[in-house]
Symmetry: none
Subunit: 213 residues, 4 copies
């Protein structure tokens, strides 16, 4: 976003920055392709540069190191997903709790533009350095605030969730989805699968004690 924004703001003033932006995009795209094609093992800076059609030196002009590149690609994809997830949770695609959860599930299932291996690799890499939490932060945040925004829900009382409950709810959903990705389950984007995920979330919420601390 930072860079994309810059392009818009200063495109006129510094035509050179336009080229730079193209290069950055090419690198990110190349990185995603390498990841998709060969997973984390094939993800070398040289391979990315090659695929992106730039020199290795150019790559390092824009990304401090390999990790930075990984973060950038994660961010790029995440940005796209999170926008849709946020809209879903805000109820813009259906006001009921179920509607929101369903929309969110759908958005997550379609993350990374369908590049499952790349998605998998990025996940692994981020988890490996302990930055995996960031992927879920927005979802956790929504759930954490849901109680306070009780009024928004037409059909459901939303309990305050404890730390552990929050964790279990978000991670179990993600876990199921992640497993479907990693195991390349054919039903990943099916309605039946989506139904079960929604049921899992709603069933869990329904089973919570009426008056949690």
């Amino acid at each position: 976003v930072g860079r994309a924004r810059q392009t818009l703001e200063t495109a006129r003033r510094k035509p050179r920055q336009a080229r730079a932006n193209e290069t950055v995009q090419a690198i990110l795209e190349g990185a995603a392709q390498v990841l998709e094609a060969g997973g984390l093992a094939a993800f070398t800076t040289n391979a990315v540069a090659l695929r992106a059609g730039v020199s290795i030196g150019t790559l390092y002009q824009y990304f401090a190191d390999k990790q930075a590149l990984l973060h950038a690609i994660a961010e790029r994809e995440l940005e796209a997903v999170l926008g849709r997830v946020a809209r879903a949770l805000r109820g813009e695609e259906g006001p009921t709790l179920e509607g929101r959860v369903r929309a969110m599930v759908r958005a997550m299932a379609n993350a990374f533009g369908g590049r499952q291996r790349a998605r998998k690799a990025v996940m692994q890499a981020l988890l490996a350095e302990g930055a995996g939490g960031a992927l879920l932060a927005p979802i956790a945040a929504f759930l954490a605030q849901a109680h306070a925004r009780q009024g928004e829900f037409e059909d459901h009382a939303f309990p305050v969730l404890s730390r552990e409950q929050l964790f279990v709810l978000s991670r179990s959903l993600m876990g199921a989805m992640r497993a479907a990705v990693l195991e390349e389950q054919p039903f990943l984007k099916s309605r039946a699968f989506e139904d079960e995920l929604v049921r899992l979330a709603l069933g869990y919420l329904a089973s919570l004690p009426p008056l949690p601390r």
Copy 2:
């Protein structure tokens, strides 16, 4: 030489295997220690050999390559866990559905003898090569057969689960646990966390339609 050795083979087999077994155990233990101490990044074959007190050559006498070592260590730990998980599911530590689920959750949470970093590293490594599914096989198997063994449950009607339902139930549980490990959550072995996992499973089961196909 080959023949002469063969002649002695039977006589020496026992003691040889004993020594060999010790060596293998030493290597596996060393591997677990290296993993625990430095994570996957420190997990080099040389480091393992050093920690195990054997030469690198010896290590390769027992393990074809690094992956084999990793699989062996995973297997060793898995074996220990799976035994307890199976007993839990069989109802040997409490006949109710909740009791079984709870015992299973507990067994899983205590896997790897408490060596969380090693557990995390092994998980990562196995996931990286797509072998992660193996971790869930026994649980999936149990759930798949639960309906058929309806009689075993004193307190609960156990529905037949569809493919998607089976998947969601097992993977969401594992996913939550996995995330707790990978994110090094402090509450991994807490009672509160255990409660929520049990609730997740039971809540999901309870939310299933009365008469599934």
Copy 3:
């Protein structure tokens, strides 16, 4: 284009040269600063351009390569020193032999405007390519001519020096000073150090046989 430009050449030369000169000075100053701040290791053409506030392309418009830049900076500083050294040797700051030697030593010790690290780095770089001798040429020249200019000295008979004697006298003085710079000795500019250098030179001269060949 080439011709058209030539037509204008004379008219614009002055202002152009003025700007160009500013740029060159900025680059040289930036180079000195980089050298002083980070030594030879930090002395990259990009770093110099950045510090000088010009683009890397501009730097290369004025300096063929990194070495040329280094030579230029050495020359710039040398020019300043040599002027003072020459005046010292000419007796303009004290007519006696001791006075001249002392003034020379002082001038050398204050070279590079006190930027010791930069001085050290330049020395290293020049020595590395065997151009170190240039630093001493003027001094050697003076000594070589001193006998012929016997009349200039009020207090001392100045012997003709053999090739080896000339060499030893000049290089030992420089060597001591150089070492003080490279080892970053705190006493570099102290009076005590200066005294000893003067003593070294005078003591050596006094020990020469009365009638050298």
Copy 4:
């Protein structure tokens, strides 16, 4: 020397160490050759390994990094010289002050087995990291203690030297010799040159005030 000794001591016990020792020597020799042939610029770890006839991996098995290799080569050569310098200063090759100084000068002039470029390169490298002082430590130490050992000298009263005097005496000698090396002066090992260096040292000592503080 340390390693050579080990070979003799443990040659029987650990034949493998003999091979290792050979390798180390080969690497050091290769390093010296590379340095001699192409100076510091050509001194890459790959070049050294190639010249030494070992793989790059082997090189790194014995030397932590490039610097360590440089230090080792410096140490190896230094050890050889310092032994002779020490003997000279102890008076074992002539009891008079002049005899000692002369023997020392000669030992230094013959340092590095005549490999001047290698010597130069090593000097530069060590100076570049501020470790240059070590090269002179033993000489400085001798001079520093000479006064206390007054009785050893049959022909000379040896004054106590101040820090600055010690520095000037040792560095000027080294400086002249160094310059002769770097400028590849033909008289480097001539008697005439040696005479002048001795004269420089003795002349300086003679010019010191009779009763220094």
